[in-house]
């Protein structure tokens, strides 16, 4: 389980916590939580990864809140900018932008912020300046596009997974 999921979870945590030491510590916490709570995981409610990703996001956000509190700064800092995202490459070394090349940046940003960085709907609404009620439908469109893109790239992904 560690081998299969640790890097994906570490990817989520590292996007919320920029300092490597923090991210490493939280990954430890996350695996401890998974280990201790595996009995409460229910397959009928969510896939294993969805469940683990949730734990990872929450643990990382908790830590970032704690840190910003310590720094007497109550706002979470999200340092991932659009330009950073554009140059961001996955673990495999394959630029993920070539994989999901046809996806509009606004959709990618939305998924990154909500899924990888744990933004709430309200935070998205404030930062991306879209009405709160639109976030849900925009997210639906974004994930639908992602699903289409991934379908097209199935063969590439397959290669990626066996690597």
């Amino acid at each position: 389980m560690y081998q299969h999921y640790s890097d994906a979870l570490y990817g989520i945590i590292s996007r919320i916590l920029k300092r490597q030491e923090d991210a490493e510590e939280v990954l430890q916490v996350v695996f401890l939580k998974i280990w201790n709570n595996i009995d409460s995981y229910s397959e009928t409610k969510a896939t294993l990864f969805t469940w683990m990703a949730q734990i990872a996001r929450n643990a990382a956000i908790d830590r970032s809140r704690l840190k910003s509190f310590e720094m007497d700064n109550n706002t979470r800092s999200f340092e991932m900018s659009e330009s950073e995202l554009k140059t961001d490459a996955g673990i495999s070394g394959i630029d993920i932008h070539t994989l999901i090349k046809d996806m509009p940046v606004k959709y990618r940003l939305l998924i990154d912020k909500m899924f990888l960085q744990g933004y709430t709907q309200q935070e998205i609404s404030d930062e991306m300046e879209i009405p709160l009620g639109t976030v849900k439908t925009r997210l639906r469109e974004a994930i639908s596009q992602l699903r289409d893109q991934l379908k097209d790239e199935k063969h590439l992904l397959y290669m990626l997974f066996i690597m």
Partner: protein, 261 residues
């Protein structure tokens, strides 16, 4: 809301992201248990996000694995002492600790999901019982009403009186099932005139030398209903009144009369 609209609302995406309130989450779980389409959609969304996370994965430092496994508490006693080395470099012979962990994790997932499925079955059986019981109760109540009507009609003292309609209401048909022995009256409403939503029919008891006595107010048609029985009534009459009934009859809207003496 139909399933397609529900799926397209984006609520399932928020569910997978864990951004729903506990009530909304419960609602999605109930919908998921009921509709295979929703289950499938949630699964697809989850898989695409999992792939996305894999694409965005960042290699965790190699020494981190050692530290993580060192800090995990043992779930079964006496198996942890020489665990660390086998974790990071799984041996090719025999069962590695990693394999065992995965095995037990899968086993507990299996056990838990079986428990959950059984619990769901049990709950839905209880729900089904409750709703069947309600249906049974209402059927037996209807049956009792029908029995009362049949008893009245079959009673040897039952008299059936055909209403005499007034001039404006020719063709209107009502029968009074009148029983002076058990003192019960039923109206068989065969064909009543159309009324507006702010009007109702009202039954009256007429006696010589007394004001008409207001009785039942109803809006039914094509039905048999039980109505009041008043001793010494000479004639029963039906009028159209404002909704809720009146204290004295509107004679211009007298539909007809049923003489019982």
């Amino acid at each position: 809301m139909d399933l397609k609209t529900y799926i397209e609302s984006g609520i399932l995406e928020l569910y997978v992201l864990g951004q729903l309130s506990p009530e909304e989450e419960k609602e999605v779980q109930d919908m998921q248990a009921k509709h295979i389409e929703i289950q499938r959609e949630i699964h697809e969304i989850s898989l695409s996000l999992e792939k996305y996370a894999q694409l965005n994965a960042i290699k965790a430092p190699a020494q981190l694995a050692d530290r993580i496994f060192e800090n995990l508490p043992s779930k079964s006693s006496g198996t942890t002492s020489s665990v660390n080395n086998t974790v990071v470099t799984p041996t090719k012979t025999g069962l590695s600790w990693n394999t065992l962990t995965t095995f037990f994790a899968l086993l507990s997932i299996l056990g838990f999901s079986m428990y959950f499925i059984q619990k769901t079955d049990h709950n839905s059986a209880i729900q089904k019982y409750e709703s069947d019981k309600k249906a049974c109760d209402s059927i037996s109540q209807q049956q009792q009403q029908l029995f009362a009507i049949i008893n009245q009609i079959n009673d040897p003292y039952n008299k059936i009186i055909d209403m005499t309609p007034t001039a404006g209401y020719a063709g209107i048909s009502v029968y009074l099932h009148y029983n002076v022995v058990n003192k019960k009256n039923f109206l068989q409403l065969v064909n009543l005139p159309e009324i507006t939503s702010d009007q109702a029919f009202q039954l009256w008891s007429l006696k010589d030398g007394a004001d008409p006595m207001p009785l039942d107010v109803f809006v039914d048609n094509n039905k048999i209903i039980e109505v009041a029985f008043v001793d010494n009534t000479a004639t029963y009459a039906i009028t159209i009144e404002p909704k809720g009934g009146s204290k004295s009859p509107t004679l211009e809207r007298l539909i007809g009369t049923m003489g019982v003496i």
